[in-house]
């Protein structure tokens, strides 16, 4: 399914947060969204996911959702958002129970995604018994269990330590190796963006506007190869240059707000 954003704008009370965001995301494409703190990245994702009412512009999907899709626009959250009273299988089940699936079908889906995310041995574990990385694997398993048309990932790895992040990126790539879902991927981490995305959209400081969109011309699954390391590093440096000033100014603005507000 394709995703079309046209001149999307948003404001909270009289605080403008997003201005004139237009973007086409192709079927199966991953677009990373980076930008300074507070520039409206989460707001944009929530607009696309229907968790915030649209104020300006239009957001549409184009095309049919994949077969078996139960929830076209599906989130993976930074804080995992797992129900602490449900075990791993139960947390995945939450996304399925209210749909018209037979028990057998449901259990099969759960088994399937747990296996895919390396969680088969943890089906009966409670979230509190899991490491951060394992918890986010549950968040990812829950998301792909509904066979989403568009994945909305809001800093899915930010709460994890660097090594776990690395492992989860490999897992994501492995999952995407089977089937690519159209994805919006918000991150602060330029290395993540360069590693996972087909294109990177850089937003300016608040109110967030599209500053630039940089394509990453190396196929996602080949980016681990050493011959691409230099090119990727150069792309990451480009991104850093385009976001550095914005981040600096945004940082100072925050101080100003704290002093005046």
């Amino acid at each position: 399914m394709r995703l079309l954003l046209r001149q999307v704008g948003h404001h909270y009370a009289d605080l403008p947060v997003l201005e004139d965001i237009s973007l086409d995301v192709a079927q199966g494409e991953t677009v990373a969204i980076i930008g300074p703190s507070g520039c409206g990245k989460s707001t944009l994702l929530n607009l696309v996911g229907g968790l915030l009412p649209l104020q300006q512009g239009s957001i549409e999907t184009l095309g049919a959702p994949p077969p078996g899709c139960l929830n076209p626009l599906t989130f993976v959250f930074q804080d995992f958002a797992l129900l602490p009273w449900r075990d791993v299988a139960g947390n995945v089940a939450l996304a399925l129970e209210h749909h018209d699936l037979s028990r057998v079908e449901r259990d099969a889906r759960i088994q399937d995604v747990l296996a895919l995310c390396g969680l088969s041995d943890f089906a009966k574990a409670l979230p509190k018994q899991l490491s951060g990385g394992m918890r986010q694997r549950v968040g990812i398993a829950r998301a792909i269990a509904v066979r989403p048309a568009v994945l909305l990932m809001d800093e899915p790895l930010s709460a994890l330590d660097a090594q776990t992040r690395e492992l989860l990126m490999e897992d994501l790539l492995a999952i995407w190796g089977r089937e690519r879902t159209t994805t919006l991927y918000v991150t602060h981490n330029l290395a993540e963006a360069v590693r996972l995305a087909d294109r990177v959209m850089v937003l300016s400081r608040r109110p967030g506007k599209v500053k630039t969109i940089i394509g990453i011309p190396i196929p996602v699954l080949e980016r681990g190869k050493p011959q691409h390391a230099a090119a990727l590093a150069a792309l990451q440096e480009d991104l850093w240059q385009s976001i550095k000033i914005e981040a600096q100014v945004a940082d100072r603005e925050m101080l100003g707000e704290a002093q005046h507000g």
Binding site: N71, L73, F75, A81, L83, R86, L94, A95, V146
Partner: protein, 263 residues
């Protein structure tokens, strides 16, 4: 010359609370033994405070006369029906106030105005409405239980992490599913904590309500014993109340252990 060697002394002890299963029993034994000793030595005159063995004798008489069952039965009935009634209404109102802005805006000032009224002050009014029999006693307890339940349920619902509700919405769960699968289990710890308070209130109101217009019930028994200066029976009644309170607290702990295993 050798460098001085110093062994590292452990200084991180204390301030860690562990399990001491036997401690409550020892405390009980010490208190009762001290009490008995004070009575036997004449430090506690029997007129003012009966000795534990006299209280036990009074309890035994109560059992033998067959009146124990009557008193406890009547009290349990009033407390259970009153508490259940007040709790179920309180849960519904508290839930509504936690979830719907309208219910919250309308309910908060009402609760704030009515909560502080000592419900026992309303007993005469309730007797006027419901008669002197069981309904007025049950209603007093229900009313006393209702308000703290509303408040604890409301704040428990309010404290359910919003991100979990948004997660559920993002997966397309409807309002009834979200209430049942997210809000209710998320609020349960706070609600059960509220039960501890409301059950104590129910016991307090029970005794007060039983002091008017009835001959059966632990409260009536205590009042009767007091009027006749039968302090051994009076304390026996108090002991019954305390056992009832302990039993309720035990049941609540059991409920917490089974329902909140995930914590």
């Amino acid at each position: 010359m050798a460098e001085p060697r110093t062994r590292i002394a452990f200084r991180g002890g204390g301030f860690v609370l562990g399990n001491r299963r036997w401690a409550p029993w020892i405390a009980f034994v010490i208190i009762i033994a001290g009490w008995e000793a004070a009575s036997l030595s004449g430090l506690l005159p029997a007129l003012f405070m009966p000795a534990p063995h006299e209280v036990i004798a009074a309890l035994r008489d109560l059992v033998n006369s067959g009146k124990l069952g009557n008193h406890i039965g009547a009290s349990l009935y009033r407390v259970l029906v009153g508490w259940a009634l007040g709790t179920s209404c309180g849960l519904v109102a508290g839930f509504a106030m936690g979830v719907f802005s309208m219910a919250r805006a309308a309910g908060l000032p009402v609760v704030a105005a009515l909560f502080p009224i000592p419900k026992i002050a309303l007993l005469p009014l309730l007797i006027l409405w419901f008669g002197i029999g069981e309904p007025s006693k049950v209603a007093t307890i229900a009313l006393g239980v209702f308000f703290p339940t509303v408040v604890s349920t409301f704040s428990a619902v309010d404290a359910v992490p919003r991100n979990l509700i948004r997660m559920a919405q993002s997966f397309g769960l409807g309002m009834p599913d979200i209430l049942r699968k997210v809000v209710w289990p998320g609020a349960l710890p706070g609600i059960l904590a509220g039960f501890r308070i409301s059950s104590s209130i129910a016991l307090i109101l029970l005794v007060s309500a039983e002091m008017i217009g009835t001959q059966v019930g632990i409260g009536a028994f205590i009042l009767g014993a007091g009027n006749l200066m039968q302090t051994d029976q009076l304390v026996a009644g108090v002991v019954l109340l305390s056992i009832l309170g302990l039993a309720i607290s035990f049941l609540l702990s059991l409920a917490e252990k089974t329902l909140l295993r995930w914590r």
